[in-house]
Structure formats: C-alpha cells, structure tokens
C-alpha cells in the first residue's frame, strides 16, 4: 500500500516505524528537514520537506496514487486542509487526520464528504487519556483495552500471591465462577508467551491476558488477585495536553491533584478545572510531594514531556508510599527497562495510540487494533464477511478455523451479545471476532483468513 504521512512528530514517526515493517511504501512530509533525516536514517522510506497543506507539496509527495493519507501534523487546521485537498484534487480513498481541538470534534458534520472530507479523525491525547482512566478505574490491571464499542474488554493482570487461582490450573477459573464467562487469551511468564490450555498452572508473577464482557472485569480480577481498595485519590504530574484531559475526565469521580511546573499553564488549568487542586511546583520535589500527602495517593501518574522526570517522580512517589504509579515514557528503550520494577506501569504513548491508526491501514475489515507488550503482541477486532464458500471463517466452528499457532479467538460480538470463543462456537456473518496474537509475525496470516476470497465479488 502507498501511504502518505504528513508530520514527522511523535505520532508520525511511530506510525511510519510500525508500518514500514509491514511492507508498505511510505512517504513522510514535514517542514523540519532534521526530523526527516533522522527518520530516513533509520527506516526505508521517502521523505519530503515542505508545508503539508500546500497542493504542490502534496503532489510532489505522490498523493496522486496514495492509498491512504495520514495527516498527523501538530496543527488541526493543516491536517483538515490537507484532507480536503487530497479529496478535491486527487480523490485519495482513505484520509485520516489528527484533530485535537474539541471545538472541531463537537461538530462531526464538518468532517463529512461535503466539507473537510476527513474519513477518520483521531486524537492521540484522548486515546491516551481514556487508557489511563481505565487503569485508574481498575487499579489491579496492567492494561484494559476495549473492543466492540466497549462491550468486550481485554485485561492484562499480574498474578500476585493471595489470589484464589495461584498454583491452580486454568480450568479452575471456570469451575470457581460458573456464572461468569471469561477466556484467558495468553499468559506471559518471564516475558515468554505460553499458550494457555485448561491444565496450565498459574504461577505467581505471571502476566495473564483475559477477555471478558466489560461488566465482568471486576469479578474476574478478583479471582486472579486480592483486590485493592477502590481508587479515591489521584495525583497527576504534568498539566500538559494529557494531564489536563485526564484531570478533567477524572475530577468528577476522584480527588485529583495536578502538579505543574509552569506557572502560566497552572493558571490556565486552574481556570479550566472545577474540582481539581492545581499545584505549582516540580513533580520531583519530594518536599512538595510530602506536603501534598503522596503517601495517601492511590494512583500517581507522571505525564510530563520529560521521560527522566517522569521516571524519577514516580520512583519518589512509590518510595513515599503511593499505591500505584504510572509513568509516561516516550523512549522505547526506557519502557522495557522500568516496567515491572518499582514502577507499576510504564506507558509508551506511541504504542497506546498506534493501534487506532493501524486499524485503518490493515487489510481486511479491521475494527480495532491494540498493540500489546510494547508492540510484540497484538489484539485485533476483525469483522467476518461472506459465507461458507467465500470466507474461511464464516459458518465454521472455531476449532475448524486454521488459525496459526499462538493466535486465539477470545470472543465474538454478535449485535449486542458477547459470546466467549469456546471451541464449538460457530462464526456467523457480520460477527466481530476478537483475536489475540502473541507474535506480530502472524498478523498477516490472521488478516488473510478474514479476507473474503475474490469469488465472492
């Protein structure tokens, strides 16, 4: 596929990086030559310096035969204009724009084909905010990902001593709570994937991925580990785009404190937020943390732009007694370094947000993609089309489908119903199938399975 990416910022480069490996022709446009040079040094792609909203730049970048336009520059306006131009002048089939301002998002009609022609709009900060919010709602989980408009969730949880399931086979889960249906999709033991069978023994320290209807998450979590008290107090370091959104979405339900270094930003935040306590200071200042009772904080999130500061302030907070600490870390190398140590959760914004973009780029009808374990594994929501003749999945029982080893069908969503992916379940047309893939290399095969063969057309 030919993909044109506008903007070589964090989102642009991560998307480029992850798409390059999937055999696509990629062109990246940005106004900064330096950023582009870095990209070009690392990956096999084409770059172009220029203003992304100028027709001449777009033309030079080869928009005429691009399949997908990804407008992810810093500016909402540039992204919207680029989509409009691509549509008016070159009829580009798929146009995706990063739109951050809620003023635009409040009026979805401006994105339709009569106006700015944005097929899909994404807002990475919002995705990240929703993601962190889930972690605050379920402080026991390492990751909570939603599928099918929130009907089904995939939850990652670390098994600690004290859960009823420890040192027992997985089948025990079923017999212990017969009324609730959940499926364990994968277990990672010392970073190695294990394909779960009924007789797999759960050990302390395992990272378990399970799929369940969203309403049942809490009951399943209870089986796997002893539950903490529900979250009440949240402290956020960094009042930037993400910190602000997060505080805004949390302040109704939790006691929120935001620490921000920049005085002017503080004033803006305090003006916007109603129930949040805005503090002006340094998130790594232990005196400030102590004055604000970090020891009583249930969830501590460090969300500044600075990886080192985030790591340091979360380490401090953890030492001083914060129950769960989350650090936002941009550098991939750091994420692997700190996750699972003192810091409970290390978040890579790129990996959290990339899934929503990947969904549009993939072959077959993919409704959602979530990247797991720093991009090593993936969970996909695919839509089954066709019939028994034209499709390799429709009309077949799950154990009849030739899934590659390491891929599991976790659940099926049919209309509003959530059906767990047990062996004898039959897949019907228009089902949303949630597939867990423990290794990225199998994704292609899985997608092929769900593509309708040509005969159908």
């Amino acid at each position: 596929m030919k993909i044109l990416i506008l903007g070589a910022g964090q989102v642009g480069s991560t998307v480029a990086e992850s798409l390059v490996s999937e055999a696509n022709d990629i062109t990246v446009v940005d106004t900064h030559a330096e950023k582009l040079r870095l990209l070009q040094d690392r990956f096999d792609l084409r770059t172009l310096v220029g203003n992304a909203s100028h027709p001449s730049t777009l033309k030079q970048a080869g928009i005429a035969d691009a399949d997908i336009l990804l407008a992810v520059t810093q500016s909402d306006e540039v992204n919207m204009v680029a989509c409009k131009l691509a549509s008016s002048l070159y009829n580009t089939p798929v146009k995706i724009a990063r739109i951050r301002a809620s003023g635009y998002l409040d009026h979805p009609e401006i994105f339709n084909s009569d106006n700015f022609c944005v097929d899909f709009s994404i807002c990475p900060e919002q995705i990240l905010t929703d993601y962190i919010r889930k972690l605050i709602e379920f402080p026991e989980a390492l990751q909570v990902l939603e599928f099918a408009n929130g009907l089904v969730s995939l939850v990652a949880v670390k098994v600690f001593d004290g859960g009823p399931l420890v040192d027992k086979p997985l089948s025990f889960l079923r017999s212990n709570m017969p009324q609730i249906d959940a499926r364990v999709a994968a277990i990672f033991r010392q970073d190695k994937p294990i394909i779960p069978e009924g007789d797999t023994i759960v050990q302390e320290g395992d990272e378990i991925f399970f799929i369940a209807a969203t309403g049942n998450i809490r009951s399943v979590l209870k089986e796997l580990r002893r539950m903490d008290k529900p979250t009440k107090r949240v402290m956020i370091v960094g009042g930037g785009n993400i910190g602000r959104r997060l505080a805004r979405s949390l302040e109704q339900d939790y006691q929120v404190k935001v620490i921000e270094y920049n005085k002017t930003t503080c004033e803006g935040l305090a003006g916007l937020l109603k129930h949040t306590l805005v503090l002006n200071g340094d998130g790594t200042d232990e005196n400030l943390l102590a004055t604000e009772h970090v020891a009583d904080v249930d969830v501590f999130c460090a969300l500044t732009n600075d990886d080192e500061n985030n790591i340091m302030s979360t380490l401090l907070a953890k030492r001083d007694g914060a129950r769960k600490v989350i650090a936002l870390i941009n550098r991939n190398a750091y994420v692997g370094l700190v996750q699972g140590g003192k810091i409970d959760i290390a978040l890579s914004p790129a990996h959290v947000t990339i899934g929503s973009l990947l969904a549009y780029v993939r072959q077959g009808d993919v409704a959602a993609v979530h990247s797991l374990r720093r991009g090593a594994a993936e969970a996909l929501e695919l839509i089954a089309h066709g019939d028994r003749q034209s499709s390799k999945v429709v009309g077949r029982r799950i154990d009849e489908i030739e899934l590659p080893k390491g891929a599991t069908i976790g659940a099926i969503v049919r209309g509003k119903d959530v059906i767990m992916g047990h062996r004898d379940q039959q897949i019907e047309e228009e089902d949303h199938v949630i597939v867990f893939v423990i290794n990225k290399s199998m994704i292609n095969k899985v997608e092929k399975l769900f593509q309708v063969s040509v005969g159908f057309l």
């Binding site: 005085k263 004033e267 305090a270 003006g271 306590l277 805005v278 503090l279 002006n280 004055t291």
Partner: protein
C-alpha cells in the same frame, strides 16, 4: 482647567435634555387640574435656559471626554439634576427649605426613597408624579438614557458607561455598540415598568398610585404617595405584585436582556448572583417569619410570613416600601433586613449597596486563603460561574469594601457627633448609603427624615450620593492624583 469646560459643555446639554422630564408632571397636572402646571412650566424653562446657557458659553471647548472627565461629568450630573429638580418642590410646597428639598430630590434621583415630606396623601398629584419619576429616571441611571441619546448628538458615551454601571463585571458588554446596549437595557426596563403599572392597577390601585408605585418599585426607590406607604392599601395582592417586581428590578438587567434574547428562563439559573440572591432572600423570609411568629409578634404564621416577606424583600432589595412599622419588631429582624440590604442586590440592577457579586467574590477569596494555607503551592484563581476573575478585580473589590465600611463608619460618627442616637445614626447611614430609604429609630418606617437637623440632612444626602456612585467614583475626585496632569 480648560478641559473642565468640556465637562460643563456636556453637562449643559444634559440639563437641556433633562428639562424634558418636566413634561410628565405637566401632563399629570393637566389631567388632575391641581394648579401646579405653571410651576412645572417655569421650572422647565429655567432648567432649559440654564442648560442652554452653559452649553452655549462653553461651546468652544466641545470635544471628546477623557475617562477623568467622565467621572467629573457623572458627579456633576448627580448633583446638578437634583438641584434643578428642587425647583417645583420649592415653588409648590410652602415652608420647604432648600436643604430638605435637595435631600428629597437627591433621595429621588439616587432611588433611595427616604423622605422629609409628610402629608404625602395631600400633595398635588403632579408633585407625587415628579418625585416618583425621579426614582424611575435615577433607577436605571439617567446615564443609560444619556448613553442611548448622547452619542446621537456627537458626544462619546463609552467612558460614562464605565464610570456609571455598577458592579465589577461591568465589562461584559452585551452588544458591540454601547448605544445599542443602553437602548436594549432601557427597553427592558421600560417594558417591565409597563407590566408593573398594569399589574398594580389590576391589583386594585388607582392609575396615579399604580404609575407612582411602579416607578418606585422599578427604580428600587421607595417613595410612596401615602404616609403609611404600602400599609395604606392593606392588600396582599398589591404586596405580592410589588414583591415580584422588586425582585425583578434587583436582578442584573443584562441577565434580563440575555434571557429575552435567547428566550430562555435558564439564563437566570446561570447567573450566580441571581441564584445567591434568591436563595438568601427566600431563606431569610421564612426565617424571619418563623422568628416573628415564635416571638408572638403575629398570631399566625401566615400573617407573619406576609409581613416578613414584603418588608424583608423591600428592604433587602434596597427599595424601601413598608407595609407595617417593622421598627416595633424585635431588633434582630429589622437589623437582619438592613444587613441584607448591604449585600443582596445584583450588580447591574437598580439597587445599591455592596452588591451580591462583591459579596460572593469576598467569600470565595476567604475560601482561597484557607486553601492556600493548607496547600502552599496551590494555584487557585478566583472563579465566578466558571470564569476566572482576574486578581486586580479582587483587589478592587477589597478596596471598595474597605472604602464602603470606612465611609459608612465616618458618616455614622458624624451623625452621632451631632447628637443623634446610635440606632438612628447607624440605620440612617446604612439606609442612605445602600439607597434603601427608611432606617430605624426616629428615621424608621413610621418616622421621617425631617426630624434631622440641617447638618444631619446634608450628611445623609452625601451618603446617598456616595452610595449611588459606588463611593470610588465620588471619592476619586478628592484625590490629588486626579487633578495632577
């Protein structure tokens, strides 16, 4: 000094315009044939001539007014207009001194409602119309009329508006053009007044009484055509109508305008001041009624509620009608009413006092200080209805409150030094500076300000002027900086 003449030039024009106000009592005089037509005609000619002369003599200095001169013009108007307005009173009422006549017209134009006249029932109808018309004109501020008219005559009005419109949120302009804003506000004021006249008529007043009391209620003045004020009518219907319109007049007229423009009553709920005022007044009404009933002042709770609500709303909104001699109630009740008169009206209404918005700001400021003590690093800007109020406004409010209390104390001391008892001095100043009207003690609802000495009368006149011009506007011209170039 030359620029002072520019102020006189504008003031002359104002007087010329003001002379048209005599037309209304002239019509009344024709209708009721009370023999005062000639006096009003004479007063009109004199005012017109004085204004014209002032205007002609200073026409070389015609020009745009600076903000400083705006302040001077406002003060000039609020002293000159009551001065010329005394003319018919002096001519018609025998034995009235200028001090008393000036007190009366100042009380009218500042919509205070304190009176030195007695035997109101027997005054010629035209005189009563004149007194109440002063309330009505003063209520919304003659200035808003002036702002709507003067720009048409080529004199800029924006700086006047800034000096005049009460309250800290004065910069929330409703329409891009100030003339348009003023005209809209005036239209709303006018419409509500018409509604009030018709409702009062329907509730059983004569046309003369309903016009007079509607003017009085809308300007939140408090003059009545009867010595016994509203007690004369002894009608729950009239009291109910007046309660509603006094409350309407105590709401920010910008809110009325917004509600009318977006055609939604929700606008009122978004006005923090309105909500605070209504809650405070409702709770107080029931509280005071309960208190009066409990103390055996009234035999039934409903009678207590009727008298408590009318008098409390009247005093709290700075109107100043009374339906009974509340001076006889246990002291807690009238004191609480006077306390409410200091704080409970909205900015941008026709009432006086500290205004609800300033009270809210100070309350929140106190809250901010507490939070600051607990969390030294906190950044918590002042917010009213979700909007950040800049710190300089908070300081201005603090400065205002300080000046307000200092001025009130100084004036109370002046009255006490002249020999008046404490309750009368205190309540007279509070009633005048808040533009309420009746106080307690000798100046209570059953009494009258005519018992005061000439000196005391002038002190009260000063208090009314200072209160109406929000103290800052008046005191600023006494600062040396004001006169420095």
């Amino acid at each position: 000094m030359r620029r002072i003449f520019t102020v006189f030039h504008a003031l002359g024009l104002m007087l010329v315009v003001f002379s048209a106000a005599y037309l209304m009592p002239m019509v009344a005089s024709l209708v009721y044939d009370d023999g005062t037509l000639i006096h009003f005609a004479l007063a009109m000619v004199m005012t017109f001539a004085a204004g014209l002369l002032m205007w002609l003599l200073t026409r070389r200095y015609k020009g745009e007014l600076s903000v400083r001169h705006g302040y001077l013009l406002v003060i000039g108007m609020w002293t000159a207009m009551p001065a010329v307005a005394t003319l018919p009173l002096l001519m018609v009422i025998d034995g009235l001194t200028f001090s008393h006549a000036y007190f009366e017209t100042m009380s009218g134009i500042t919509s205070t409602g304190a009176t030195v006249l007695s035997g109101l029932d027997n005054l010629p109808p035209a005189i009563n119309i004149w007194r109440h018309e002063l309330h009505w004109l003063g209520g919304m501020g003659i200035i808003v009329l002036a702002v709507a008219v003067l720009p048409l005559l080529g004199v800029g009005g924006r700086q006047l508006f800034k000096a005049e419109t009460p309250g800290p949120m004065k910069d929330s302009t409703l329409t891009p053009r100030i003339t348009e804003t003023a005209r809209n506000l005036w239209l709303i004021y006018f419409s509500i007044t018409v509604a009030c006249i018709l409702s009062l008529k329907a509730a059983g007043m004569t046309w003369l009484d309903s016009i007079c009391h509607a003017f009085s209620a809308m300007g939140l003045g408090g003059f009545s055509t009867h010595d016994a004020s509203i007690g004369y009518f002894n009608s729950p219907a009239i009291e109910g109508v007046l309660i509603v319109f006094m409350l309407l007049a105590a709401i920010n007229f910008s809110t009325h305008f917004l509600a009318w423009r977006v055609k939604s009553l929700k606008t009122y709920l978004l006005d923090t001041e309105f909500v605070a005022t209504v809650v405070l007044i409702l709770v107080s009404c029931f509280g005071i009624a309960l208190f009066l009933w409990w103390n055996g002042v009234y035999p039934t709770f409903m009678t207590a509620l009727r008298h408590a609500s009318f008098n409390l709303v009247s005093i709290a909104t700075d109107c100043g009608f009374s339906s009974t001699d509340y001076n006889q109630w246990p002291i807690f009740a009238p004191m609480w009413m006077l306390f409410l008169s200091c704080i409970s009206v909205s900015s941008g209404s026709t009432g006086g006092g500290i205004k609800m918005i300033r009270t809210l700001i100070l309350f929140k400021q106190a809250g901010r200080e507490f939070v600051k003590l607990l969390h030294p690093a906190v950044v918590n800007p002042m917010k009213i209805a979700g909007h950040v109020v800049p710190n300089n406004i908070v300081f201005a409010v603090l400065g205002f409150i300080f000046l307000y209390f200092m001025s009130a104390s100084a004036l109370v001391f002046a009255l006490m030094a002249s020999g008046l008892d404490f309750i009368s001095s205190f309540s007279a100043i509070i009633a005048c500076i808040n533009n309420v009207g009746p106080g307690l003690g000798v100046v209570g609802p059953a009494g009258n300000f005519s018992v005061l000495t000439t000196f005391q009368t002038w002190i009260c006149t000063l208090a009314m002027l200072a209160g109406r011009l929000e103290i800052f506007t008046l005191l600023i011209i006494f600062t040396p900086q004001f006169w420095r170039r």
